[in-house]
Structures are given as structure tokens and as C-alpha cells.
């Protein structure tokens, strides 16, 4: 009954204005900067256009045809997939393990380590990229110096200059940068689990693994769902670190779909095809979000 009462109230005339005023500004901003550009991009994607002056060359769906046969697009998407899988398989378990450790009340340095592990996330992506470029630098970098000390006779590791290693070198940076965020989400999730449940399970003689699997993990369902969502969407949209560390190169070996979109659209003045890529990224993210939400709703039922 109480619920109905609220809805009835919101439908009232004075409240219509309250809602309009409160939602209005956000709605106007969202429409101007998100909704309209999406439709604009969809329109651009049908043209061959360099972004300067009026659009003249209508191509129809030719850009989309190119998108589906473009080998670099396939390469870039496969990199996005690798990044997403590694994030889920390595970064999230790592974040979970650290969250369990630093939220243990018996652990003395918990607060310090929480802050410490969160530090990389507070750096901007570009600064992170530049920092790690120094570390990886094949002539003057930290890795090269260490390599010189421990195995001076083998060839110098050129992590960012070798198409076969560059993606993995950048993945290390991505994990380093983002595990702190996921750890923080998990810490929040852990705090929501009633201590009584864990105590009860302990009294019943459950092992630590058992407690984790049957009490803690189910209790953290929402936190895990959220971090998986962030992690996958973040992997699809990854750009800043990629660009800062090698502009998707060498030879597209670290290209992601967004860095390719940027290269085509902005560096190459090919706004038409760039928009096509942007629209496809939008659709991929949308499909993922819808499927993910559906799955969660089903699971909850």
C-alpha cells in the first residue's frame, strides 16, 4: 500500500514540475551530449566524409561492409576479447584475494595496504602509460637495467617494440592499474556480509574454503556482478593506456577497437568510417549490457 501511495503522489501536478525541474538539467545534458551524438554518428557512418565541410558522398552501408571484412577490426576485437578474458581470469581473482586479506580484522596493516593498492587507480591513464613506458624502455628502462644485472648475455627484452609481446606488456599495466578498483568494490561487498553467518559456519565446523564458497561468495554476488560488468565494458572501451603506450602498435599488435576508431576517424580524417566503428562499438556494448542484465534478472528469480 505504501508503495502505491508514493506513485500516486508522484503523479500529482505539482510533483510533475518537481520532477521536471530536478531531472530536466540532467536530461538535457544527457540528450545533448549522448543521445544526439549517437544518432549523428549513425548518420555520419553512411557517408565518406573527412569531417571538414558538408557531407557529400553518400555510401549507404558500404562502410559497414568494410567494417565486417576489415582484418584490423577483427584483430582489434580479438585483443579486446583477450583483455576481457584476462581481466576476468586474473585481475578479479587477484582483487578478491587481496580484498579478503586486507579486510581481515586481525591484519594490522589493513588500512595502509588498502590505500596502497588503490594508488595505481588514482593515477590518470596517460600518466600510467608514460610511467610504464619508462619502465619498459629498451635502452634506459628499469626492466633493461635489471636484465643487464641478471642476464647480460641474452638479448634485451623489447616488450613494447615486439608485436608478439606488446599486448601482454600492456595487460600487466592494465591489471596493475585496475585491480585496486575491483578490490575496493569487493571490500565494500565483504563488509555487507553479516559476521554472524561466518561465525555460525565456523561453529558448524566449516573449513575456510567452504566458508568462502558457501557464505562469502554468495553474499558478494552483487559486488562481483558489478565488477564483472565494469571489467568487461572497460575492456571493450579501453583506449587511453593503449594510446599512451604505443598508439596500438607496432603493426596493430596492441590495437583495440577504440584505438582503431580514433586512428581512422581523427588521425586519418575518415569520420565516416570512424563513425561506423563507433556505432558498432555502441551496439556491442549495448548487446552485452542487455544480455548481462537479462542473465542477472533470471538468476535473481
Amino acid at each position: 500500500m505504501a508503495k502505491r501511495h508514493v506513485y500516486k503522489g508522484l503523479a500529482g501536478r505539482a510533483n510533475f514540475w518537481t520532477i521536471a525541474v530536478l531531472l530536466g538539467p540532467a536530461l538535457i545534458l544527457f540528450t545533448t551530449f549522448v543521445i544526439i551524438p549517437v544518432f549523428q554518428a549513425a548518420a555520419f557512418s553512411l557517408y565518406k566524409w573527412n569531417g571538414l565541410g558538408p557531407m557529400k558522398n553518400f555510401l549507404g552501408l558500404a562502410n559497414y561492409q568494410q567494417f565486417f571484412s576489415d582484418l584490423i577490426v577483427q584483430k582489434a576485437l580479438s585483443h579486446n576479447l583477450i583483455i576481457a578474458v584476462i581481466s576476468l581470469a586474473v585481475e578479479l581473482p587477484l582483487a578478491m584475494a587481496l580484498a579478503l586479506i586486507v579486510s581481515n580484522s586481525k591484519f594490522k596493516g589493513a588500512v595502509f595496504f588498502r590505500t596502497f593498492f588503490f594508488l595505481p587507480y588514482m593515477l590518470s591513464e596517460v600518466i600510467t602509460g608514460v610511467l610504464w613506458q619508462f619502465i619498459y624502455h629498451p635502452q634506459y628502462g628499469l626492466i633493461t637495467t635489471l636484465h643487464g644485472i641478471f642476464s647480460p648475455d641474452s638479448p634485451v627484452p623489447t616488450l613494447l617494440g615486439d608485436p608478439s609481446t606488446v599486448l601482454w606488456a600492456i595487460l600487466v599495466v592494465i591489471i596493475w592499474k585496475y585491480f585496486g578498483l575491483h578490490m575496493t568494490i569487493y571490500i565494500a561487498g565483504l563488509q555487507a556480509i553479516p559476521q554472524e553467518q561466518i561465525e555460525a559456519a565456523t561453529i558448524d565446523g566449516a573449513s575456510k574454503t567452504r566458508i568462502f564458497l558457501s557464505v562469502i561468495l554468495p553474499g558478494m554476488r552483487t559486488a562481483v556482478q558489478l565488477s564483472v560488468f565494469f571489467s568487461v565494458l572497460g575492456s571493450i572501451q579501453l583506449f587511453d593506456i593503449i594510446w599512451a603506450m604505443g598508439k596500438g602498435g607496432p603493426v596493430n599488435a596492441s590495437e583495440t577497437i577504440v584505438s582503431y576508431m580514433y586512428r581512422v576517424g581523427l588521425s586519418r580524417f575518415n569520420i565516416g568510417y570512424g563513425s561506423t566503428i563507433a556505432v558498432c562499438i555502441f551496439v556491442i556494448c549495448l548487446i552485452f549490457s542487455i544480455i548481462y542484465q537479462r542473465l542477472l534478472v533470471k538468476e535473481a528469480e
Binding site: 518537481t18 530536478l22 603493426v251
Partner: protein, 432 residues
């Protein structure tokens, strides 16, 4: 209900007031700018300390002489500049005065009406006559002039005399085979023969286009751009150039990890005396200094030499690939912007520019500011060249130029054969 109504009214009032204040402040500031002073936004890429100071001095001096003009300087690193300029151009808001390399990129801006047509200030005027007609040509398209030249030079090998002497070369080889032999000797001696910013791609592009020019001669380039060469970039000479580049790469003449290296990395290696040479434009000594750990570069040890000739090729060492820089003026810029560019390119200031950063200034009589023997040598090469080709990536449209850069990188990485790389270039060239 009453409370809610009051709340609603208050919120509306607050928004209204905020909007009013916001609008008032906006119109106020625009009025101020248009009435009392002319604003000139100047974007330059002189990130080296001496360039920054010099350009600030120019702006201050001009503002002192013209109190109604305010010059706002934005200094951007080369790559960042290109990116940011593209963005503002696509939004239709060009800076008032900005760095340009002429060619296809400038022509595209001109076509879209984003840069000022300065033909009337140049043709038959004192300003126009202060420079050779040929240097204005780089910044012209369709018979109209769109920017003022400031610097004109060419790409040469910049080498370390001491390191070459170590392997028995007192002079730079003038023949490709001899050059290859020297690279092998340097490699054996444990010296990095060539520093290359392969991650930035364009330094490698110059190497490929120079080999192509030496094989095919000017005719190859002219026929390709005019369409007379129906094979375009798939012409055997371009493919042969790719093969020769691949052969050079197979000798591992570049520093470790060159495929991920930037141009600044390249300059640092030569500036620190670790690499024997780089293939670069007239700005090389200045950038080497700035990127070296001593900030001094290698000084007297540095020398410049033209790109070697290829046996059996139609090209000669007097044909050069080059370019320089100029000042373009945005279409919305005030008259003050034109005056400021005239000021920057007057004889006195051109001498200052030449003395400060070694630019090969274009204003007649300003060459007295060029004192460095290497710069003089490059200047002489340009002045006496029998053919001048603007850097390919700037000469072509951004889409085609970008593909040239990408494709040369695939040759270096060995992910595409020279024939495949040339096919990719030709596809982009014929499509744009």
C-alpha cells in the same frame, strides 16, 4: 502540498537565476574581447626550451608594439599538436596562427574553408617578394596561398663523425652498397648503426620514400601523382624500394625495440652518442640536444650527408625529399593574425629564429642567421636541388599519408611483404 509548491518555486527560481548569471557573464566576456582587444591564438610545436622562450619574446614584442592585440600561445608536442589540431578543425574552430607543413593536409583545410586565403597579401607585395616563389608553392593549392613559409629544408642523414671514423669512414658513403657495408661494420663494432623511431612510423617512411626516389627518379613520383603511372604505388620501383628496406632491416641496423620507439627516443640515441646516425630533417640537431642527457647533443661530431644513390637507379643525390614549416592563419582570425605572421617572417625575426633553433629560414637576407656548417650544408642542398618532393605523408591526403606510414611499418616488422605493403598504399591513394 504547500511545502512542495514552495520547494518547486524555489528550485525554478534558482535555476533561472543561475542561467541569467551564466548568460550575463558569457556575453560580458565576449563583448570585452571584441571591443578593446584583438585576440590571436598561436599554436606552435617548439617544445624545446630555447624555442619556447624565443616565441614568448616574439609575442611580447608584438603586443608591446600593438597594445590592442593579445597573443595567447599554446605549445604542443608534435604528435599531440597534430591530434589536437584535427579535433578543432573538425569542430570548425581553427586556431588563429598555427604550424603547418603545407601539402595535402593544408589543401584539405583550405578546401573546407578553415584557413585564410592570404593570396592578396602575398601576390606582388613586399611580403610576397621577400621569399622565393618556390617556397610559397608548398603552401599553395589551386593557385592560392594558404600559409607563410618559415623554414625550408630537406631530409638528410645526420651522423656521428667519431663513430663512423671508428669503422674507417671519414666521409659518408654516397652509394647504397657502400652504405650497407658501413652499416655491417658498425654493427660488428657494437655500435647501433641507425636510430629509428619506428613507433612513430614517419621517420621510417622517409627512408622508404628516399630509396624509391633514388631508384625511380623524379619521374616516378611525378607520374604517380599525375596518374600517368597507372600502377601507382604498385610500380616495381616502389616495391623494389620496400625490398631494399626489408634487406636493410634484416641486418638489424636499428636499436633494440625500434618498432615501439618514438622520434624522441631516436633523437636521444644520436644525441647521447650511442647511435651512429639518423635520417631526419633540418631540425635534427636541435631535437638531439633537447633529448640528450647532457642537453648538449654531440656538438662538433655531428655532420649531415645526402641520402646515398642507388646503383642503376634513375635518381641522383641532388634530388631531395624535404619540407619545413610555415604559419597558417585560421579562417576566423583577425587582421592582427596576418600582421603577426608578417612580423614573424620579417628579416630581423627570421635571423633570430635561425640563430635560436637552426631553422633554415626562408626570408631573403635572413640566411646570415644560419651559422652552423651542417645547417648551411642542408640549406645549400635545398637551394641547389634539381627536384624537391614534400614529405610524402604531408603531401598526400591524411588518409593516404597515414597508410604510407602504416605500410612502411609492416615492412619493418615483416608482417607484410613489400608488394602487399605497396598494394595497401595504392588502395588508400586511389581511394582518397
Amino acid at each position: 502540498m504547500k511545502k512542495k509548491a514552495i520547494f518547486t518555486v524555489m528550485v525554478i527560481l534558482m535555476l533561472f537565476v543561475t542561467a541569467m548569471v551564466f548568460m550575463a557573464s558569457c556575453s560580458d566576456s565576449s563583448k570585452k574581447a571584441s571591443q578593446s582587444e584583438q585576440l590571436v591564438n598561436w599554436w606552435h610545436i617548439g617544445t624545446a626550451a630555447n624555442d619556447r622562450v624565443m616565441n614568448e619574446n616574439f609575442a611580447n614584442e608584438f603586443m608591446k608594439a600593438n597594445p590592442n592585440v593579445k597573443i595567447e600561445i599554446t605549445v604542443l608536442e608534435n604528435e599531440a599538436f597534430k591530434t589536437k589540431l584535427t579535433t578543432v578543425m573538425q569542430s570548425g574552430n581553427p586556431p588563429d596562427v598555427f604550424q603547418t607543413w603545407g601539402g595535402g593536409v593544408l589543401a584539405q583545410y583550405a578546401e573546407a574553408g578553415l584557413v585564410k586565403d592570404i593570396t592578396k597579401y602575398v601576390k606582388g607585395t613586399e611580403w610576397g617578394n621577400s621569399m622565393a616563389p618556390g617556397v610559397w608553392e608548398v603552401y599553395s593549392s589551386g593557385g592560392k596561398v594558404y600559409a607563410a613559409p618559415n623554414d625550408a629544408g630537406c631530409i638528410t642523414f645526420w651522423y656521428n663523425k667519431d663513430l663512423l671514423a671508428k669503422v674507417g669512414y671519414t666521409e659518408f658513403p654516397s652509394d647504397w652498397d657502400d652504405f650497407i657495408a658501413m652499416v655491417k661494420k658498425l654493427k660488428t663494432a657494437g655500435i647501433i648503426p641507425i636510430a629509428l623511431g619506428g613507433g612513430d612510423k614517419w621517420p621510417a617512411m622517409h627512408m622508404w620514400s628516399y630509396i624509391a626516389l633514388r631508384i625511380g627518379g623524379p619521374q616516378l613520383f611525378q607520374d604517380t601523382f599525375s596518374g600517368k603511372n597507372t600502377l601507382g604505388f604498385e610500380h616495381p620501383d616502389f616495391i623494389k624500394a620496400g625490398e631494399m628496406l626489408a634487406e636493410l632491416t634484416a641486418l638489424k641496423p636499428f636499436q633494440d625495440g625500434f618498432l615501439g620507439a618514438t622520434y624522441n627516443d631516436e633523437a636521444a640515441l644520436v644525441g647521447n652518442g650511442e647511435a651512429a646516425m639518423e635520417l631526419m630533417g633540418q631540425w635534427a640537431p636541435n631535437v638531439q640536444k633537447d633529448n640528450s642527457s647532457s642537453k648538449e647533443g654531440i656538438g662538433e661530431k655531428l655532420a649531415a650527408a645526402p641520402f646515398p644513390s642507388v646503383k642503376g637507379g634513375k635518381g641522383t643525390v641532388t634530388e631531395v625529399i624535404g619540407g619545413g614549416g610555415g604559419f597558417a592563419i585560421g579562417s576566423n582570425a583577425s587582421e592582427a593574425a596576418v600582421d603577426f605572421v608578417k612580423f614573424l617572417t620579417n628579416k630581423e625575426n627570421q635571423i633570430t629564429i635561425a640563430k635560436t633553433n637552426g631553422s633554415l629560414v626562408t626570408t631573403k637576407g635572413a640566411e646570415v642567421g644560419i651559422s652552423d656548417p651542417n645547417a648551411k650544408m642542408v640549406k645549400a642542398l635545398v637551394d641547389k636541388c634539381t627536384f624537391f618532393q614534400l614529405y610524402l605523408d604531408q603531401f598526400l591526403t591524411p588518409a593516404a599519408g597515414g597508410t604510407v606510414n602504416d605500410s612502411v611499418q609492416t615492412i619493418l616488422a615483416g608482417t607484410a611483404t613489400p608488394a602487399q605493403a605497396c598494394a595497401a598504399i595504392q588502395a588508400a591513394f586511389s581511394n582518397n
